[in-house]
């Protein structure tokens, strides 16, 4: 009998010997149980009806619930009629007899009858774990506890025969020891408790007293049967295996069929043969559809056939062929190398520019100087938000061998950006200049070919204690006059640098001018709001005395001076001490005079009073000691006036424009547009056709009066405001001096040929003055005969540059 049970066990998934052993140790008790149910088993296994009968006696709510039965015991009889349909369904299944749950059938009628009061427990042991295929579910039987106990005592030594009977139908549903009612649960759930589940009465099964190692050891020594003693996890009791059990285990270990009596080589009985038997095994005939062709299948086939025919679906070969066709096929697309076929093309295609080729810095092993030092690296990292400003788009790296070079982390990104550029970046054809910057610089003759011009500083005239605003030379080129902010006018001998005379005046000298008439020794001095006619008494004494004589007595005229002129200017004779100083006439103006200029003949002169509104320009006549106001309307802030050297023209420079008036016809001839912010001064070429205009906004403008009213050339030679500009009377030279202390001498050739434009070549830059109060050079004046130039500076000196 136990072999049978074990065989069952083994047929399940769990084949561990330990399990077998576990079961083995319960053997004794089990035998009793089996004895108890023995009689019933015989009946129940035979017929279904019996089972049903037995079932009637119990109501089982569900297979899983065990506890219900305890409460239901009282009501048993009332609910006898109820059947369990699950059980029935299972009994119908005739193919696998072993699967049949006969747990209920095992219940003994008589037992149940006789034990109304007994408590019944239905332990449903889920053996699905153990028996996956054959014995899925098992219902343990109900037994009367009382009877069980009795019978355990009685049948301890019962014979085996009975047992064999019991398992005639291989039912092993009751093989478990059901003293513990917890069911088939992992027993380690009880690890933390002192008990091991509950017995039939619901009392706790306490764990046996724990043995320590020593006890176990002693036991091992003492007990000869120790090797066959195992612990029952359900009860915690120790169980000794019988000889049969051990034998059985040995057979299993030897991979033999556990049942000794089983004949492996028994003759084969063919239950189902291919031969057609006279009478069918099954008692009903085959269904009609088993020999009629399926309509559904026919439809399906028809559909497939149609799909194949129509080419909706393809066979494997066809599919492969198609796939091969879909792969790109290459052939000779271009017959020749460079002959293009006539075909549609993109309109005005602009090919994408190629990528820049790498320089040394991109090398994996660049020269050491290409690697970033700390500063450069910092700079590189700082431009993280504006990477286009970086000098290099990567950090140069050096690896000492090729195997150490890693993949470039931004490679894919860079490729992607290139792709984006190719299809997203707007393209346009841009002209790229391939010229050198030198080509933009105009080709000019070399200064060496344009000599003579002043190149070296040869003399310094020191004596003034303040800025020298103005200088002028006499016509012979022997003497120099200068006017300064220290209110003095000094006469210098040019060749020696000696100061011949110093004339003290009342106010700041803004302008001095030597009379161009060589028979007169006269200097116009603008000092404050006075203009003084001064006889310097230098040079030819004859001329000086003659001048004095001419100016001695004022001509008397009966022309009535208009009110307007009279309020503007007042001529008066110098006083005694003034006369001694050299004053020959004094003109007192109503406003400060900033500039005076002579007419070429030396009789007329013009004065400028910028604040004078419509009376800002005044023309005086020495011989008649008379002044007149040429303009009746204000022309703006007049900066400077000039007489034309040969024609009766007056140039009037206001803040932005230069107006040319014909004094004879009394009309405006031209208005020159300077395109600058503020004119400072101007000078006219001795030929009279070219005008130089200096401006405070750093420019010097050359006007060709024949050409246009716009500047012929704008020279940006200086860095700051230009204050003085001058033409040489004889040589083709001009010079400009500015606040940046520099004097620039240029060649300005005017050709007689009207078709040829003037040639302007900057020749030399001279920088010897010191700056004072942000002023550099105030006035520039050429020597009338020699290619020499004088400059007066804010540092109180006059410098002579000669060739």
């Amino acid at each position: 009998m136990p072999k049978e049970r074990l065989k069952r066990k083994i047929s399940g998934s769990e084949k561990q010997v330990e399990d077998v052993l576990e079961k083995q140790k319960e053997e004794d008790e089990d035998e009793n149980l089996w004895n108890v149910v023995n009689d019933d088993e015989e009946d129940s296994s035979d017929s279904d009806g019996d089972i049903e009968e037995s079932e009637e006696e119990f109501k089982i709510e569900s297979d899983d619930e065990n506890d219900e039965d305890h409460s239901n015991t009282d009501d048993e009889e009332e609910e006898e009629e109820e059947e369990e349909e699950d059980e029935e369904a299972e009994t119908d299944d005739d193919e696998d007899l072993s699967e049949k749950t006969v747990g209920n059938g095992l219940r003994d009628e008589s037992d149940v009858d006789g034990s109304d009061n007994d408590k019944i427990s239905d332990s449903n042991i889920d053996n699905s774990k153990h028996n996956n295929d054959s014995t899925n579910q098992k219902k343990s039987k109900n037994t009367k506890k009382q009877g069980l106990k009795n019978k355990i005592n009685e049948n301890k030594n019962e014979t085996k025969t009975v047992i064999e009977d019991e398992y005639a139908d291989y039912d092993t549903s009751d093989e478990e020891d059901i003293r513990n009612t917890v069911g088939n649960i992992p027993m380690n759930w009880y690890d933390e408790y002192r008990h091991l589940g509950y017995d039939w009465d619901g009392n706790k099964i306490l764990k046996p007293e724990g043995q320590d190692q020593l006890d176990a050891f002693l036991k091992r020594i003492d007990d000869p049967d120790f090797w066959r003693t195992v612990k029952d996890p359900q009860t915690g009791q120790e169980v000794k295996l019988t000889d049969e059990d051990v034998k059985l285990i040995r057979r299993i270990q030897g991979q033999k069929i556990p049942d000794e009596t089983f004949d492996e080589y028994a003759p084969w009985i063919e239950w189902f043969t291919s031969e057609v038997m006279k009478t069918p095994i099954r008692k009903f005939p085959e269904h009609k559809r088993s020999f009629l062709p399926s309509k559904y299948e026919e439809k399906k086939v028809e559909k497939l056939a149609r799909a194949l025919k129509m080419g909706w679906i393809k066979t494997k070969e066809e599919q492969d062929k198609l796939r091969a066709k879909k792969e790109p096929q290459f052939y000779m697309l271009w017959q020749t190398d460079d002959q293009a076929d006539e075909m549609r093309r993109i309109y005005k295609h602009i090919p994408a520019p190629k990528r820049h080729l790498p320089g040394h810095a991109e090398s994996y092993n660049p020269p050491a100087e290409y690697l970033f030092d700390e500063k450069e690296l910092k700079q590189w990292n700082k431009l993280k938000d504006s990477p286009w400003k970086r000098k290099l788009h990567f950090v140069p790296q050096k690896f000492d061998s090729l195997r150490k070079v890693p993949a470039y982390s931004r490679y894919i990104k860079e490729r992607f950006l290139r792709c984006l550029d190719l299809y997203l970046c707007p393209r346009a054809i841009k002209m790229k200049l391939t010229i050198e910057p030198e080509a933009l610089v105009p080709k000019l003759p070399s200064p060496r070919d344009l000599q003579p011009f002043p190149t070296v500083l040869s003399l310094e005239y020191v004596g003034h204690s303040d800025m020298i605003r103005t200088i002028d030379t006499d016509k012979t080129g022997q003497y120099l006059v200068s006017g300064s902010d220290d209110c003095t006018v000094k006469i210098w001998e040019i060749n020696t640098g000696r100061c011949l005379k110093t004339i003290q005046t009342d106010a700041v000298i803004r302008s001095v001018k030597w009379c161009p008439n060589s028979s007169l020794s006269l200097i116009l001095v603008a000092s404050g709001n006075k203009v003084i006619l001064l006889n310097p008494h230098v040079g030819d004494t004859l001329v000086c005395n003659k001048t004095d004589a001419v100016l001695k007595d004022a001509p008397t005229t009966d022309i009535i001076i208009s009110e307007r002129v009279r309020t503007t200017v007042e001529w008066r004779e110098p006083e005694e001490d003034e006369y001694a100083k050299g004053y020959r006439a004094v003109l007192t103006h109503f406003k400060e005079v900033t500039q005076v200029t002579w007419h070429g003949r030396g009789d007329y002169f013009a004065c400028v009073m910028p604040d004078g509104q419509n009376r800002s320009v005044l023309i005086g006549q020495v011989s008649k000691r008379r002044s007149q106001l040429p303009f009746s309307k204000p022309k703006g802030l007049v900066q400077c006036v000039l007489f034309h050297p040969s024609k009766p023209f007056l140039f009037v420079a206001t803040q932005r424009h230069v107006r040319i008036y014909d004094l004879m016809k009394q009309m405006l001839v031209k208005k020159l547009l300077t395109n600058c912010k503020w004119i400072s001064t101007m000078d006219i070429h001795p030929g009279g056709d070219n005008l130089l205009v200096a401006t405070y906004d750093r420019k010097v403008l050359w006007f060709d009066l024949d050409l246009s009213t716009k500047p012929y050339q704008t020279l940006r030679l200086h860095g700051t405001a230009v204050r003085g500009v001058s033409f040489h009377k004889r040589y083709p030279l001009f010079a400009s001096g500015s606040d940046d202390k520099s004097l620039i001498i240029s060649h300005g050739m005017v050709y007689n040929d009207l078709m040829q434009n003037p040639l302007i070549v900057p020749l030399k830059r001279l920088q010897n003055h010191k700056s004072a109060n942000d002023f550099g050079i105030f006035d520039v004046h050429f020597h009338p005969l020699q290619p020499w130039v004088f400059t007066s500076g804010a540092d109180g000196t006059i410098k002579l540059y000669s060739n």
Binding site: K314, K326, E327, P328, F330, M332, L333, W334, D337, D338, A340, D341, M343, R344, R345, I346, K348, I350, A352, R355, L357, P358, G359, H360, E362, S363, N365, P366, A368, E369, P396, D400, S401, L402, R403, V405, P406, Y408, S409, Y411, I412, K413, F416, R418, C419, L420, L422, Y423, C425, R427, A428, P437, L440, L444, P447, T714, L715, V761, P762, R765
Partner: protein, 575 residues
């Protein structure tokens, strides 16, 4: 009758350009389809001359396409394929939604495919045009050939890229067209000359693929490019192979195939692997080998004799370059990148092999006695043969760029390598505008090379000499002290003697820099006469020049500092 007023922007630039949105409306395409179409057809936005007029007075900056480009797209047959795709996607989506998987599979099996052959012809009417535009194509295909399979990208693209690029390399090997190579930190640069066109491409270093953030890299766009480039490269390969008298698709010599057990391997894979090895010459269509020795004929043209001479020299150099490694036998160690080196060595006529277990296609073993060079990239090697040089891979690259076999002593196993220079920098540039490292100068000027070598070697000597000089200087100083004492004595006596005396006149010497200074000043003045129109241009050009020269200065300074440091270290090590 009043003339009808013309509508604004109906003529001129306003009518020539069309914004992207309008283009989409006109073509009835989605943005994705339009993008794809633009990539395939090579249509790009254009920068108008006057943006305000071109975008019809609308504010902002719009992507403007030329109207004719859009009309050009409109007549493209693949637009219909793109529309088919739309329908196809809808059908598949529906089948998937209703879980009709059979139907879905059926749809997927006959998905529409784009045929791009005509577009290649259209974009590149002649073969030269295609070669001119091959740079991007090759670079992207080489990159894609290293990719694993990615979502949303057809799987066969990667395989096809691999195949085509390998075929292209074979064509270059056969044509011996490679001219310049360069190892950069980004990858290997190769420059080949095919039919007079220079083609440059980059092959990334190993393991170049890394997952990219979605907002940074869109692989779908790249895949669209690759879709076109594959076709283009295929046709280029075909033409190249035919012009080189080779079979296309490439064939291996039959003997090779018969040797192996054919039944064991898939033949296609077998051949593909052998081709990828790059080591087996392909079979030719006919056995005749045509030597292309085209002599430059003398034309009585206006080109000067110098130019012709130069061209001749260049050609001779290229001729020697083509057979640079002829007769040399290389063996690659395991750690050396196989593909680039095999490609280069084979391009210049060398024989090469590698460890059998590394890759298929190795022809001889390491123990072969006829090997002349073994390329190694490790600090030391246990077993060395005396009969061969053990050199580092940079030697091969530097030899190609120098167009001659360089001395190997600097590249021996474990040596500190000389710097690897780029061959792509312009050689005829101004040395004030661009820095030329001394190593590069040495390349053009062999005399400099010696000095450079000596400089390295003689550093130690210099240090010694310096010491000597210092000693001498000290001695001198002591002497000077004595002398000065004497001088003082003399001067005091002179003071006492100070009487009327005539000094000899001094000859006025013209200072050499005076002239240049004057010239510079003159130029500075002349500079101010630059026309107003060109003033800003001139200024910016000069500014750029100044910046460049500053960079040169900076690099020179760094070099000097570095060299000083090196000598210092050397002298320290000596002590």
């Amino acid at each position: 009758m009043v003339a009808k007023k013309k509508k604004k922007y109906s003529v001129g630039e306003g009518s020539q350009f069309i914004s992207r949105r309008a283009a989409l409306n006109k073509l009835q395409l989605s943005l994705n389809d339009f993008r794809r179409l633009c990539i395939l057809k090579g249509i790009y936005p254009r920068e108008p001359r006057n943006r305000k007029r071109a975008q019809k007075g609308q504010p902002g900056i719009k992507t403007l396409y030329h109207k004719k480009d859009i009309l050009f797209l409109m007549q493209e047959p693949i637009i219909w394929k793109l529309r088919d795709y739309k329908i196809f996607n809808r059908k598949v989506g529906r089948a998937k939604a209703v879980k009709d998987f059979q139907k879905m599979r059926r749809y997927l099996d006959n998905h529409p495919t784009l045929k791009l052959d005509h577009i290649v012809k259209e974009r590149y009417p002649s073969f030269i045009d295609a070669l001119r535009d091959l740079d991007d194509c090759l670079t992207l295909c080489f990159l894609f050939s290293t990719f694993p399979s990615l979502p949303h990208i057809p799987r066969d693209q990667f395989m096809l890229c691999k195949r085509l690029t390998m075929e292209f390399l074979h064509a270059i090997i056969e044509a011996k067209a490679l001219r310049k190579v360069f190892i950069s930190i980004k990858g290997y640069y190769y420059q080949a000359e095919i039919k007079g066109q220079t083609v440059t491409w980059i092959v990334p270093h190993n393991f170049s693929f890394a997952p990219q953030p979605k907002q940074e890299v869109d692989f779908k766009v790249m895949s669209t490019f690759v879709e076109f480039y594959i076709i283009m490269l295929g046709f280029v390969n075909f033409r190249l192979y035919h012009s080189l008298n080779l079979y296309y698709p490439p064939k291996l010599p039959t003997t090779d195939v018969s040797e192996s057990d054919k039944s064991l391997v898939d033949e296609n894979i077998y051949v593909a692997e052998r081709i990828a090895a790059l080591n087996i010459p392909l079979t030719k269509l006919s056995n005749q080998t045509e030597e292309e020795d085209v002599e430059i004929d003398q034309f009585p043209s206006d080109t000067s004799a110098e130019d012709i001479e130069k061209a001749k020299q260049e050609q001779a150099k290229i001729k020697t370059l083509k057979t640079l490694f002829k007769g040399l036998k290389f063996f690659l160690n395991r750690e050396v990148p196989r593909e680039p080196l095999v490609f280069i060595i084979r391009c210049f006529g060398g024989e090469v092999s590698w460890d059998k277990t590394l890759f298929v296609g190795s022809t001889f073993d390491e123990s072969d006695e006829t090997i002349t060079h073994q390329i190694v990239d490790r600090p030391n090697l246990d077993k060395q043969y005396i009969s061969r040089y053990y050199i580092q891979p940079q030697w091969v690259f530097d030899c190609v760029n120098a167009r001659e076999l360089l001395p190997v002593n600097k590249y021996f196993l474990g040596e500190v390598l000389p710097p690897h220079l780029s061959p792509f920098v312009d050689k005829e540039r101004d040395s004030y505008q661009q820095y030329i490292p001394p190593e590069e100068q040495a390349l053009y000027d062999p005399s400099l090379r010696e000095t450079l070598n000596e400089a390295d070697e003689s550093d130690e000597n210099v240090a010694e000499e310096e010491e000597k000089e210092e000693n001498e200087a000290e001695e001198d100083e002591t002497e000077d002290m004595e002398n000065s004492n004497e001088d003082e004595m003399q001067s005091t006596s002179k003071l006492q003697k100070h009487k009327l005396s005539v000094k000899p006149g001094q000859v006025y010497k013209e200072e050499p820099w005076e002239k240049t200074r004057q010239e510079r000043q003159e130029y500075k003045l002349r500079e101010k006469m630059v026309k107003n129109k060109h003033r800003k241009l001139y200024k910016s050009m000069m500014q750029g020049r100044r910046e460049r020269s500053k960079e040169v200065w900076l690099l020179k300074k760094k070099r000097r500092l570095h060299e000083e440091q090196k000598t210092k270290q050397k002298s320290k090590a000596k002590q």
